[in-house]
C-alpha cells in the first residue's frame, strides 16, 4: 500500500466511509428481509434532489440530502399505507428526480458535480463532515437497536406483530426513517445511485451465510465495511469511480453468499417440499448434496469475516 492511501489527507475518508458502512450494513439487513429494496432505491434518488438543491442555493450538501431523505421516507410511509406501495414509491421517486433535474439545469457546475452526486466522491470528504455524520449514524443505529425486535417481528409477518399490539405501519415508518438516515450518510460518499447497492449487496449475502438474525446483521455490517475499504483503495489506485467497485462488490457478495448457502445444505431442496409432509427431521437432513454439510462448513469458515460466527 502506498503512503498516500493512509496519509492524513485520507483519514477523514476512511472514517467517514466506515461510519457509512456500519449504518448501511445494519439498516440494509432490514431492507433485504423486509423486501424494501425499491424504497431503498427511491429514497436516495429523492435525496439526490436535495443535494442538487443544496448546491443551487449554496447550503451544506448534508443538510439538503438529509431534508429530502426525510421527505421521501415519510412520503412513502404515509401515502404507501392505503395504496399500492410500489406505485406510490415510484411516483415519489420520479417526482423528486424530476425536481432534481431542474435544480441541476439551473446550476452552473453541471457535469462534474452531477457525476459525484450520482456515483460518489470519497476523496472530497473533509474531517469537518465527521461530526454530523457520526451523529446521524448514532441516531440511525439507536433507532435500529430500539426497534430491533419489532422490526424482526414485522419482517417475519406483519400479522404476527399486529396480533401483539405492535402497529406494523408505525414500525414501517420508523424503518423508512432509518433508511433515510443511512442514505443521508452514504450519498455524499458512494453517490445516489449506489447507496442502494451498499444497502442490498452485503445483507443479501449475510442472510445466506448466517442463520441467526443478530449474526446476519453482524455479517452484513462486516461485509459493508470490507466493501467500502476495498472500494476506496481500488478507486484510489485505479482512478475509477468508487461507485463502480461498491456496485460490483455488492453483486460478488451476493453470488458468494449463494454459493455458501448451496454448499452448506441449508437451502431447501425443492419448492414443493414445503407443502408436503413432515417426515424429515432436521434442516440439515434435507441437503441435496451428500457431502454438503462438511464441505460447506469449511467454505463458510473460510468466507466468514474474522470474529463473526454464523
Amino acid at each position: 500500500m502506498g503512503a498516500g492511501l493512509f496519509s492524513s489527507f485520507m483519514t477523514g475518508t476512511w472514517l467517514e466511509a466506515s461510519i457509512v458502512a456500519v449504518a448501511a450494513g445494519a439498516v440494509g439487513f432490514f431492507v433485504v428481509v423486509r423486501g424494501a429494496a425499491f424504497a431503498a432505491h427511491a429514497i436516495p434518488q429523492g435525496a439526490f434532489t436535495g443535494a442538487a438543491g443544496a448546491a443551487l442555493v449554496g447550503v451544506n450538501t448534508l443538510a439538503g440530502v438529509g431534508v429530502f431523505s426525510f421527505l421521501a421516507a415519510t412520503a412513502i410511509a404515509r401515502w404507501g399505507r392505503r395504496a399500492r406501495r410500489d406505485v406510490v414509491t415510484a411516483l415519489i421517486l420520479v417526482g423528486l428526480l424530476g425536481l432534481g433535474s431542474l435544480f441541476l439545469s439551473m446550476s452552473l457546475e453541471y457535469s462534474a458535480q452531477t457525476f459525484s452526486l450520482l456515483f460518489g466522491e470519497p476523496l472530497a470528504v473533509g474531517t469537518g463532515e465527521l461530526l454530523p455524520t457520526g451523529a446521524i449514524a448514532a441516531a440511525c443505529l439507536a433507532l435500529i437497536v430500539a426497534m430491533y425486535r419489532r422490526l424482526m417481528l414485522t419482517s417475519v409477518a406483519p400479522e404476527l406483530a399486529a396480533a401483539r399490539g405492535v402497529n406494523p405501519e408505525n414500525v414501517e415508518t420508523w424503518f423508512l426513517l432509518s433508511v433515510g438516515a443511512a442514505t443521508t450518510l452514504a450519498l455524499p460518499v458512494v453517490g445516489a445511485l449506489l447507496v442502494f447497492s451498499l444497502m442490498i449487496g452485503p445483507p443479501s449475502a449475510a442472510r445466506f451465510i448466517a442463520r441467526r438474525p443478530a449474526a446476519a446483521v453482524a455479517v452484513s455490517v462486516a461485509l459493508a465495511l470490507v466493501t467500502v475499504w476495498v472500494a476506496i483503495a481500488a478507486a484510489f489506485y485505479s482512478g475509477w469511480p468508487l461507485g463502480f467497485f461498491v456496485g460490483v462488490l455488492g453483486v460478488v457478495w451476493y453470488l458468494l453468499g449463494r454459493l455458501v448457502h448451496a454448499r452448506t445444505g441449508d437451502a431447501r431442496s425443492t419448492g414443493d417440499a414445503r407443502s408436503t409432509g413432515d417426515a424429515r427431521s432436521t434442516g440439515d437432513a434435507r441437503s441435496p448434496a451428500p457431502q454438503g454439510p462438511a464441505a460447506g462448513a469449511a467454505l463458510r469458515k473460510a468466507l466468514a469475516p474474522p470474529g463473526i460466527s454464523s
Binding site: 430491533y148 417481528l153 417475519v156 400479522e159 437451502a267
Partner: protein, 296 residues
Amino acid sequence: MRSPVGTTLRRGRASDEGPALPEGSPPPVLVVEGLTVTLGGREVLKDVSFNLHAGELAGLIGSNGAGKTTLLRAVLGLQGTAAGTVTLSGRRDHGSLGYVPQKVSLDPDLPVRARDLVALGIDGQRLGVGLHSSSRRARAEELLSSVGALHLADARVGALSGGEQQRVLIAHALASKPRLLLLDEPLANLDLRSTQETVSLLAGLTRSHGVAVLVSTHDINPLLPFMHCVVYLAGGRAASGRTAEVVRSDVLSRLYGQHVDVLHAHGRVIVSVGDEHRESGCELAPDDCAEEGQPA
C-alpha cells in the same frame, strides 16, 4: 336428535366418547355479543354471538367469504365493529390472545430459526434487542417441545414444510401464555397426516395449557373428533353451541335460510345446501361426494 356426531371418530382414535366439555367452568374466556361488522357497505357479520370457555376447542366453520377471518380479526381488535361487543375475561394486553394467521408466507432465505421466531413470541413487542439469556432460550425450547417441534429449533422457519411451520407458529402464539388461541385456516394446504397431527396437537393444548382454542376451517371433518363446540357461519350470521346441537339439518336450514341436509357417512359429516356440498372433501375428491348421494 341425539348426538349425531358422537360416532364420528375415525382412524382408530383411542377415545370413543368424543371430547367432554369441562364442566362447572368459570365465566367464559371470550364472550361475543351481537357482533356486526360492515366492510365496504356490506354486512359481513350480522349479530354474531357466542361464548368460549377455558379448555374448549371450538371450530369456526364456514365457506370461503363467510366472514371467518373478519370474525377472528374483530376478536383480536384489528377489525372495527359496527355493533356488538367482544369481551375477554381478565386483563387484555399483547399477551392475552395468541394468533396464527392464515397463509403466513415465510421467505425461505430469512435468517430466522424456529427458536428465534418463538423467542419473538415471548417478547417481540418490546423495545430493544432482547439480550441473549439462558432462561429465554430454555423457554423457547420448552414451547417448541410442547408442539413437538424441538428438533426443528435450529432450522430456518422459511425452509420448513407447511405442517412444520404451523407448529412453530403455534409455539410462537403460545409464548405469551394466552388464554385464547385463534387460528385462521390452519388446516388449509396441509396433507392428511399433517392435518390430523395439527388437530390432535390443538386438542392436546386445550388440556395441557387450559387454553381456549378457536380454529377457523371450511372443512368441519378433521375437527369433529376433538371439537367441543362450533360457531357455524353462513351469510354473515352464526349458529353456535355444542357440535351436535348445531350441525343438524333444522339448525343449519334456519341459518342458511333454505333447506340443508346434514349427512353422516363413514364417520364424516357432509353439509349439503341446495345443490352445493359444504365439505372440503368435495374440493379434493369430487367423486367421493357424488357417491354420497344428491339430496334436495
